[in-house]
Subunit: 408 residues, 2 copies
């Protein structure tokens, strides 16, 4: 008998028919003899509506009261799913974040889970009762409701699986697994049977939206066996596992992309020691996430250009911060470009294989795609290109790394 | 400095604009130097929608999970009102039923409040913070969410006022007070400045829907000064108070009516001792509320007819119960009539005045309205008449007791 955590997102519980469908999927695991805890999101659209109510009242809503309002979406789903389970003969009850409790820090609206008390849940599971648990919710030390931030339900599920020492944590979503790349762009993208935590983490960070980054990080830390699968069909999904569980490791597992990037060049900086720190210090203070960075010195050796990327949504703020410090920094001008995309080739296999980056550069060159910035990590090579070339680049790389599925 | 409990119903908090309006009414009390606790209902329509979701899933939804779902409506309003108060500079926080806690029994979906712990609320009030509290919600001994049943928010407000020893409990609603009778029927109905608990209790039981019966009962028991007033204008409402606070007591304060009545006659019963108990025992066992009763013996003295009223919604069930016991009871036939209305004249003054009932009978006779059943209590005379005559009877009685307002 295994302990299984199943997590169903907002689309999977989008209306009462779908909640009944979820109940059948839970029942199947119960009938297979497993102990089951289910983590649910708010019904699709509900959280947005609740957020809109808070915005109507106050543009910068106090986050502790914001949490009181938006956490109700998940509460409703837990009650409805418990009802649906009971109505098909499955013993079940709902638990709220404060009842378990799911302890978090007190950073309202983006709290982090600190501890989940599972004694009572475990007792319920042992007497054959399905525990229906809200994602997203937590309880702070001073007994107030917290929420984990958007997408936090994946993290709730993984944290619960870790606390229960579950044998598996199944994340049900509206796609049937993790693909080599976005199948809406590359028709010959393949569903992966397995992917390592590290690769999944990079794919998630780079915009593959099947899992929240933080949930992958937590799964990796606690070695929770994750499975991404579809709520709407019964096929197996993609297992996210330890590297040593993957026997035949491909060099490259997937190709991710993000259009949510903007490039900033600080041109004509006086080249002197500490100039990079002088530029990035104020940006860090303003909580702006700087990603790829290159620095090059001008031909006369007296000035330097510093180029880096920030999330597109933070571009305006980044430029403002730099303008404010123009006198200290002594640069000539700022050049901004939001029409860029980051394309990344991800694979743990590249640790032991040379030439992975070179193959990327060659494939892009063959399509006359200009590379603006390059950055690499142990299991990833990323390039910044003009946004217009995104699809072309993805298809070229998908073929170049031998990821294409056989023609249908 | 006084402690004030303000209660706002579903229409008063029906959208975010109205919630902002409520915040202004709360602010006015704070600025008058009072400590304020606010009890709120779910936004109009929300509870119905949540109930519909539970019905979609399971027609006879488990009441403990039903409570998990429907209690969220009030939670949302507490958060939004706290936000609205903060946004106009009033210190405020929301409290949920489980945080206070509001202890109830464990009869889910119609729980009764047993105890409200007010220490932390009182501390909050004393440091000048408005406490925003959900109506309707409670917490059972085994830490599960309960609800008080529809309309329970009035009771929550009165219970909180009693626990806080509040100086006043203002029930804000969509009418501006308690009227001598329904102003939609009798144009010359007058708003009462004051009414006694006992009268208010009778009026509420008889279908004047401004206050939930149980809340009046509780206010009477704990001597909570209630005020019924409008959310939409600033005039004074109706004070519900002790009898000795009313200096010039009218003989009759109001005329109530209920169309939700049905009459049953059990005809041809063998007249013997215990026959009434034999008839009403099974009805009581079936939890059917029997109201007015008359018994009369047939001319030959051998059989009796027993006539009584039940709520219209329970008529079908009452007839079924009686048919099931037909053999024991040995009656000839059942005669049912749902086209009846109960008209009641209410006033504590009638304790010391003779002729109140006689004036009622005369006024109805003058309009040729036939009285089918009569019942009286210390402060009330009720008659059952054909439903078609309801409006005519109300207007005639309103004039007969001198309740008509001066013509406008």
């Amino acid at each position: 008998m295994a302990i299984i955590v199943q997590k169903f997102g907002g689309t999977s519980v989008g209306d009462t028919d779908r909640i009944r469908n979820v109940a059948r999927k839970v029942k199947a695991e119960v009938e297979a003899g497993h102990q089951v805890a289910v983590v649910v999101s708010a019904m699709a659209g509900v959280t947005n509506q609740l957020v809109a109510h808070t915005r109507d009242i106050a543009e910068d809503a106090d986050p502790s009261e914001y949490d009181v309002v938006v956490s109700t979406g998940e509460q409703v789903t837990t009650g409805l799913l418990a009802l649906a389970l009971r109505s098909i003969g499955v013993a079940a009850r709902s638990w709220q974040g404060w009842q378990i409790p799911i302890r978090t820090d007190d950073v309202h609206a983006k709290a982090r889970i600190e501890d989940i008390s599972v004694e009572r849940l475990r007792a319920a599971l042992e007497r054959g009762e399905v525990a229906v648990v809200p994602g997203f919710q937590g309880l702070s030390d001073n007994q107030r409701i917290t929420t984990l931030g958007r997408g936090g339900s994946d993290t709730s599920a993984v944290a619960l699986a870790a606390a229960l020492k579950a044998d598996r944590c199944d994340i049900y979503t509206d796609v049937d697994g993790v693909y080599t790349t976005d199948p809406r762009i590359v028709a010959r993208a393949r569903k992966l049977d397995k992917i390592t935590y590290e690769e999944m983490f990079e794919m998630a960070s780079l915009g593959a939206k099947v899992l929240q980054t933080r949930s992958v990080e937590m799964a990796m830390k606690h070695r929770v066996r994750l499975q991404v699968r579809s709520s709407f069909d019964d096929g197996p999904g993609t297992l996210v596992v330890d590297e040593d569980e993957i026997v035949e490791q491909e060099v490259v597992s997937g190709i991710a992309y993000s259009r949510d990037e903007a490039k900033v060049t600080v041109a004509g900086l006086r080249d002197r020691p500490g100039v990079a720190s002088a530029v990035f210090g104020p940006l860090a203070d303003a909580n702006i996430n700087v990603d790829m960075i290159i620095q090059n010195v001008s031909q006369d050796g007296k000035t330097a250009n510093l180029t880096f990327t920030v999330p597109e949504g933070e571009l305006r703020r980044a430029l403002d911060v730099l303008e404010t410090h123009k006198e200290d920094l002594r640069f000539e001008r700022l050049i901004a470009n939001a029409d860029v995309a980051k394309i990344s080739v991800v694979g743990v296999g590249m640790r032991s294989h040379a030439g992975v980056a070179q193959r990327m550069f060659q494939a892009l060159a063959d399509k006359s795609i200009n590379i603006q910035v390059i950055s690499t990590s142990e299991i990833k090579v990323s390039v910044l290109i003009a946004e217009d070339y995104t699809e072309l680049a993805l298809r070229a790389l998908h073929t170049a790394y031998g990821l294409d599925a056989d023609a249908p």
